[in-house]
């Protein structure tokens, strides 16, 4: 793996690691599945930013999306838990080892149906975690049932109609107090990369709802989660670039056209204006924009909201800086004198 002595012909990142070091095992998802594209973006982003793989912990629930952490960052620990409860596992692991970079991958069934409660509380806590929802509006692994983000009026192969409106995970996360909310499309390579990189730099919870078409069960005409629908109806809020902290590019930007959001680690999320004026630090305008887009049948993508000031869950707990998991006995078992003191009080 090391390339220190002889010059390597291979391309490496700032840690000297090749992109190969960020890959996982071969995917077992369907060819053309949006999730595979997301896995590729994750590999690229972690490689390009030079994140130490051993410092990353991957978490997932159950479903097609939740299988995918096996397909990227093979040198990182991963925990594929139970359906809808990835947030609990991630929370526990981050409590134990606060120096980890947590990456959660989930689906719309995992998050919006069975796991909506845990999702809600995860958002409320602002756990430091990248939370990617691979949203295809359908249960793939159990062969095509509706999830809570399925379109109203959509039809199963059996003829069953979905009578219920979909949850908008971004709008819900905004309402619950999320500090980073973005929506993207698995087919939008550049935008998804910028969002994932910004999420890596964000110190709190990043909720990223990625429309990720299911080629087997939900890519048909009439589905709002199909490739063709997204090609026609994706409405980007802005053009995104990510300037990592280790790249000091000072280019003069014309006033009013570009906004730089400084991230916790010194990186910058560079937002270039398209048609509209959109300020991603205003929660109300984010909610309004989502409502308007929904009414027009558009899928609004980009960084909807970012708040870099709110303390994370781990910061509110007043824990020691060192990870709790590896504190030595001398710091976790009080001395005999403490036991004696307590016993005396109970006499």
């Amino acid at each position: 793996m090391s390339t220190s002595t002889t010059p390597s012909p291979k391309k490496v990142n700032r840690l000297g690691l090749e992109v190969l070091n960020y890959k996982g095992s071969k995917t077992t998802l369907c060819a053309g599945c949006g999730h595979n594209a997301i896995s590729e973006r994750i590999v690229e982003c972690f490689y390009e930013l030079g994140v130490e793989p051993y410092k990353v912990a991957k978490f997932s629930g159950i479903g097609c999306s939740s299988k995918s952490p096996a397909y990227f960052l093979g040198m990182s620990h991963g925990f594929n838990g139970v359906h809808g409860r990835m947030p609990a596992i991630a929370t526990g692991a981050m409590l134990a080892k606060r120096d980890l970079l947590g990456l959660g991958v989930t689906g719309d069934g995992d998050t919006a149906s069975i796991g909506i409660g845990q999702f809600m509380h995860l958002v409320r806590r602002n756990l430091p975690l990248i939370y990617v929802i691979e949203n295809n509006g359908v249960y793939g692994l159990t062969k095509g049932q509706f999830s809570a983000t399925a379109d109203i009026g959509s039809k199963l192969k059996t003829g069953t109609l979905n009578d219920l409106p979909p949850f908008d995970c971004c709008a819900l996360a905004l309402k619950w107090g999320a500090t980073f909310v973005a929506r993207s499309f698995s087919g939008d390579k550049k935008q998804l990369q910028a969002i994932l990189k910004a999420a890596i730099a964000h110190k709190g919870l990043s909720v990223i709802d990625v429309i990720s078409p299911c080629v087997t069960f939900n890519d048909h005409d009439g589905s709002t989660k199909s490739y063709s629908y997204m090609k026609d109806h994706e409405e980007a809020l802005h053009e995104l670039d990510f300037v990592p902290f280790f790249e000091d590019i000072a280019v003069e930007i014309p006033e009013g056209e570009v906004m730089d959001v400084p991230m916790h680690d010194g990186s910058r999320l560079r937002i270039r204006k398209l048609e509209r004026d959109y300020n991603p630090t205003n929660k109300l305008s984010a909610l309004a924009a989502l409502e308007e887009a929904e009414a027009k049948g558009e899928v609004l993508t980009g960084v909807l909201y970012v708040n870099t000031g709110k303390p994370t869950f781990l910061e509110t707990l007043n824990m020691t800086e060192e990870p709790l998991a590896t504190l030595p006995e001398s710091r976790v078992r009080p001395p005999q004198a403490v036991l004696d003191e307590v016993m005396e009080e109970l006499r």
Partner: protein
């Protein structure tokens, strides 16, 4: 005003003839939310301070204020601290239950009661002491709104006078109860206790036989509830992540743990060496604890039956993915919501086999605060050593009642973190396979996330996996892994705490029990010997999986009575799963499931019935 109304047909005349010293139970019947807990604790503590073995059991409703509650204090010179069915001395403060409380008493019992209740008309074979509480409380508590709370302290004074409890011990207990910060409240209550004492002294001629005499059987002992003892055990075990959801009767375990952690587990810079998170439900609390255990923390949660049901799925993941976690189950009466404030050993079977598929989990059965402390520490070591969820099974009786105990012993052995490979280990080994049985004990080696080595990572999953933690649906991989897990369970069998055995010479019958059944079983053994000439041996289980000692014990006896505090004989059922038919044929069942702490007489009567005596 009131003159003593002695029942005409009194059974025990004059106290001098046959005094009953240090061997009776007092029951105080009040309404919950009336502040009676303080008065009751002070009374219990005063007796304890006089050196007399004592126990206190609170029978309270699942309610904040206004429903009946009973507190029973048992003083026993023999050291029996289990519940006693018979009440000798009743303090009747609750108009709603007073009549029934009095009618249930055995002949010869004494009754201190609120005068307007006129209970003396109900029976002629009891000793009645009417006290005008409302009249007495006015002068000692000028502030009207506090009277409801102070009123109860008056009966402490009356009872102290009637039972010869040293008032200086009452005062000492009061000061202890209120602490230095609430000296004013302590003084107010002391005034009330004195008023009760004086009233009793000048009004009553004692006719009942019950009284206390100083002993020296409690020197050096402490009074503590099992939940606090578990909490202390967890803290000295070095717990680092505590995730929980409130549920009776386990809430006070975590609440007291939080209190101790705040006092004793902060670094010099004020930073905590622990995290406590109140989760949104039990699904989350166990999930967080498992996530933390996976990442290397000493993690725990505490719950009761309904929480156990909710945790079922995650416990299966913990078992199969092999993550350490400690679960304290303070059992209460089920099924469903059941009787939330009553005690039962109702979760034994469900916990042993919690979750779908083939799962088995180790359980520890503490019977006392001392064992709550030591077994909590052992449970954390055990969970990491065997990389699996470990259950510490207590119950409401142990968890929420006050118990006399010996001071806890500081752990002698260092913390055991189990088989965890560091980056240096990996450098030497070159790699590892997470679920490979390298040492032949069924326990693989694990790495923690964040280990800086290219070979450190593995993928944890609840789906089928091979030795390298890779996904598999192969028949041979699956069977191989499940057999290793079974083998690991067999290794645990050799490492769980061994049972405590009392072999009675020549005994044909034996008892097997666990946890708080111990007090009633031991007292019952004495009753059987003294009253029926039946000798019985006794084996107290301290853990599941059961050990060879249990099998040998059954072999040595003709009949073995398995004592269960549940309807279906769950402990017996669990034994049936492991024993061969010949031994199963020797097993008999003794069950109690009324929600109160098990008492000796219930067992004794049942043995006599089954033995045909």
């Amino acid at each position: 005003m009131s003159t003593l109304e002695v029942s005409p047909a009194e059974p025990s005349s004059g106290q001098s003839d046959h005094s009953v010293i240090n061997d009776f139970s007092i029951q105080v019947a009040t309404v919950n939310g009336s502040g009676s807990q303080t008065a009751n604790t002070v009374l219990m503590r005063a007796i304890f301070q006089m050196g007399i073995p004592v126990s206190g059991k609170n029978m309270f409703p699942s309610n904040i204020a206004g429903l009946p509650t009973w507190f029973t204090i048992r003083a026993s010179k023999h050291g029996y601290i289990g519940r006693r069915k018979e009440i000798d001395f009743l303090v009747a403060m609750n108009p709603e239950t007073a009549r029934e409380d009095v009618m249930k008493l055995d002949s010869g019992a004494a009754v201190v009661y609120d005068e307007p209740l006129k209970l003396d008309a109900l029976r002629s074979d009891l000793h009645f002491y009417p006290v005008p509480f409302d009249k007495l409380v006015g002068p000692v508590c000028p502030e009207a709104k506090l009277r409801k709370l102070v009123r109860n302290m008056i009966y402490d004074g009356v009872v102290a006078q009637l039972l010869d409890i040293d008032m200086q011990e009452v005062r000492k207990a009061l000061v202890k109860q209120f602490g230095k910060k609430k000296a004013k409240a302590a003084e107010l209550n002391w005034g009330a206790a004195q008023a009760g004492f004086e009233y009793s002294a000048k009004t009553f001629t004692k006719t009942d036989p019950f009284r206390v005499e100083r002993m020296n059987a409690t020197a050096g002992k402490i009074i503590i509830d099992g939940n606090a003892a578990c909490a202390l055990g967890a803290m000295f075990a070095g717990v680092t992540v505590v995730t929980w959801y409130p549920i009776t009767p386990s809430s006070s375990l975590v609440e007291q743990l939080i209190g101790y952690l705040r006092r004793f587990r902060h670094d010099a810079d004020g930073k905590a060496t622990y995290a406590v998170v109140q989760a949104e439900d039990e699904l989350a609390s166990i999930g967080m604890a498992i996530g933390a255990g996976w990442a290397g923390a000493r993690s725990m949660t505490a719950t009761a039956g309904p929480g156990i049901s909710l945790m079922s799925e995650f416990i299966g993941l913990g078992y199969y993915a092999e993550t350490p976690v400690v679960v304290f189950d303070v059992e209460r009466v089920g099924p469903s919501t059941g009787l939330p404030t009553r005690t039962q050993q109702g979760d034994l079977l469900s916990v042993a086999l919690l979750s779908h598929g083939d799962t088995k989990h180790p359980m520890f059965f503490p019977k006392s605060p001392e064992e709550c402390f030591s077994m909590a520490i052992e449970a954390f070591d055990f969970a990491e050593q065997f990389q699996t969820p470990v259950f510490v099974m207590t119950d409401l009786d142990l968890g929420m009642n006050n118990w006399m105990a010996d001071p806890f012993e500081y752990p002698k052995k260092p913390i055991r973190r189990g088989k965890v490979l560091t980056a240096e280990d990996l450098e030497k080994l070159g790699g590892f396979a997470r679920y490979k049985d390298v040492d032949g004990d069924g326990v693989g080696y694990r790495t923690l996330p964040g280990t800086n080595h290219p070979a450190a990572s593995y993928f944890t999953r609840g789906s089928g996996h091979n030795e390298k933690a890779q996904y598999t649906e192969r028949e041979d991989d699956y069977i191989h892994n499940m057999d290793r897990l079974a083998h690991k369970f067999e290794t645990m069998r050799r490492h769980v705490p061994a049972p405590e055995i009392h072999d009675a010479p020549g005994a044909k019958i034996g008892f097997i029990a666990c946890g708080t059944s111990d007090y009633a079983v031991r007292e019952s053994c004495d009753q059987l010997r003294n009253e029926y000439d039946i000798t019985a041996s006794y084996l107290r289980l301290k853990a599941y999986p059961f050990t060879g000692e249990m099998t040998d014990f059954i072999r040595r006896h003709d009949r073995v009575y398995v004592v269960d505090q549940n309807r279906d004989g769950q402990l017996l059922g669990l034994m049936r799963l492991e024993l061969d038919a010949g031994l199963i044929a020797k097993l008999r069942s003794v069950r109690y499931y009324g929600g109160l702490p098990l008492d000796a007489r219930t067992i004794t009567d049942e043995i006599v019935r089954q033995e045909g005596k």
